[in-house]
């Protein structure tokens, strides 16, 4: 494949081929310009953490990658292919892009097992027995194998979010998007979710994570992207960013969240 990255600024940090490429991405909500000329390349196996003040466009950026938010300018490439508009092609692409939401969004009328097997059976056309076997492996892996027969409302927030991660993984996605996965959780449940995510990162999953969990960023991420007012203000390694941020805006943000 040809080198898609244009300048040094939007090159991935590894030697792996780029998997997700955003070029001059723009997005408006009415008058509000929420994404301003975003250029970002995420390589295969790379873990990127997006942080920044709320309202800065982090979630919108994350959601635009599987077109839950359509963009109004620029291009997004996933594995070399341009993101399709609505329809069957888009559905097929979304199957390759796992998504984990802040509010879990497990299907409320289905059991945990059914939540995990639905996508593989209906989208990938996997047989029921095989889908259930794989689902149970995933649920065991995220530590909630015993909860498979329960409904989402019967689980704690941390368990629900781990089930949601298993549901996304069941599709064998090329990349996983996490939109503030721990923001709606009680403090003691944050760790169990972050542990699952850290394991996933170490297994080589490509991940784009919108989060305020600095510990996770240091532990698992190769790259930190700092966003404010709809722009990427700074892009660097976690160590460099947390100890030696280059911009005033980033230093100001860090001073507010690290000093308490």
């Amino acid at each position: 494949m040809v080198d898609i990255g244009k300048g040094a600024g939007d090159k991935g940090t590894s030697d792996n081929p780029p998997l997700v490429v955003l070029e001059n991405v723009n997005k408006h909500f009415g008058e509000l310009h929420v994404l301003k000329d975003i250029n970002l390349t995420i390589d295969q196996g790379e873990v990127v953490v997006i942080i920044g003040p709320s309202g800065g466009g982090k979630s919108t950026l994350c959601r635009s990658i599987n077109r839950l938010e359509p963009i109004d300018g620029g291009t997004i490439l996933i594995d070399g292919k341009k993101l399709p508009e609505e329809g069957r092609d888009l559905a097929r692409l979304r199957a390759d892009v796992g998504m984990v939401f802040q509010s879990f969004n497990l299907f409320a009328h289905k059991t945990i097992l059914e939540n995990v097997t639905l996508g593989p059976m209906k989208v990938r056309k996997v047989g029921k027995a095989e889908a259930e076997k794989h689902a149970m492996e995933l649920l065991e892996r995220v530590g909630i194998g015993t909860q498979a027969g329960k409904y989402p409302a019967q689980l704690s927030g941390g368990q629900q979010q781990r089930a949601a991660i298993a549901r996304a993984l069941a599709m064998k996605p090329k990349v996983m998007l996490f939109d503030e996965p721990t923001s709606a959780l009680d403090p003691e449940m944050v760790k169990e979710v972050l542990d699952v995510m850290t394991d996933l990162a170490h297994e080589g999953m490509t991940m784009i994570v919108v989060t305020h969990e600095m510990g996770f960023a240091r532990r698992a991420a190769q790259k930190v992207v700092f966003m404010a007012e709809g722009q990427i203000v700074e892009e660097s390694t976690p160590d460099e960013f947390f100890t030696n941020a280059r911009t005033d805006r980033a230093r100001d943000f860090l001073s507010k969240i690290l000093t308490h």
Binding site: N105, F107, G119, K122, V123, A168
Partner: protein, 228 residues
Amino acid sequence: MGQLFDFTEVFNNLDKIAISFWATIRLAAVTAVLSMILGTVWASFRVSPTPVLRGVGTFVVNLLRNTPLTLLAAFCISALSDILKFHFSETPSVNGYWWAVTALSVYTSAFVAEALRAGINTVPLGQAEAARSIGLTFTQSLRMIILPQAFRSVIGPLGSVLIAMIKNTTIVGAVAYGVEAASEMKALFFDLGATLPMFIGFAVGYLVLTLPAGFFFGWLSKRMAVAR
């Protein structure tokens, strides 16, 4: 005074009354199924991503629920059946039955669609986003995720729609299918004179149909509720 509460004629004609209520039940049961299916189609149209379908759904629902049922039934039986000769069957009673079912189903479907659309609005947006994010198409997510939850949240209101439908059989019966309970009551009034006991007999007959239906839907809506 004694004559006012003399139920002899009711008991003497119990067989006719029973037969007429059986006709009402057949009318209502088939209409219930058809109006649910049709109502689901209109509701799906109204939430579709295609503007044309949304427009069609809105137009049809507004047209149907704002047209008096009597007119709709008269249109079916007079214009479509008698004048334009669209016949379901050569047997007049069978033809009348199906036109009555058609008129009532089409009419009721608008109310089913509106109840269902209210139900769709109770399903959090995140459910649809999650469905899309695992690669389900619009139709799949509507069928597997949105509608099942929407139905469960409006079982109560749907019960009311169906009870209203059971009572509306009297209207299509009078216009198109003159053998169901209300028409039979009219016939008996004509033969025997309109008496209070006969009236009460038929009223009780309708209660026997509608009250259990109401209790059933109340029970079902509790049982099927989705915990969030």
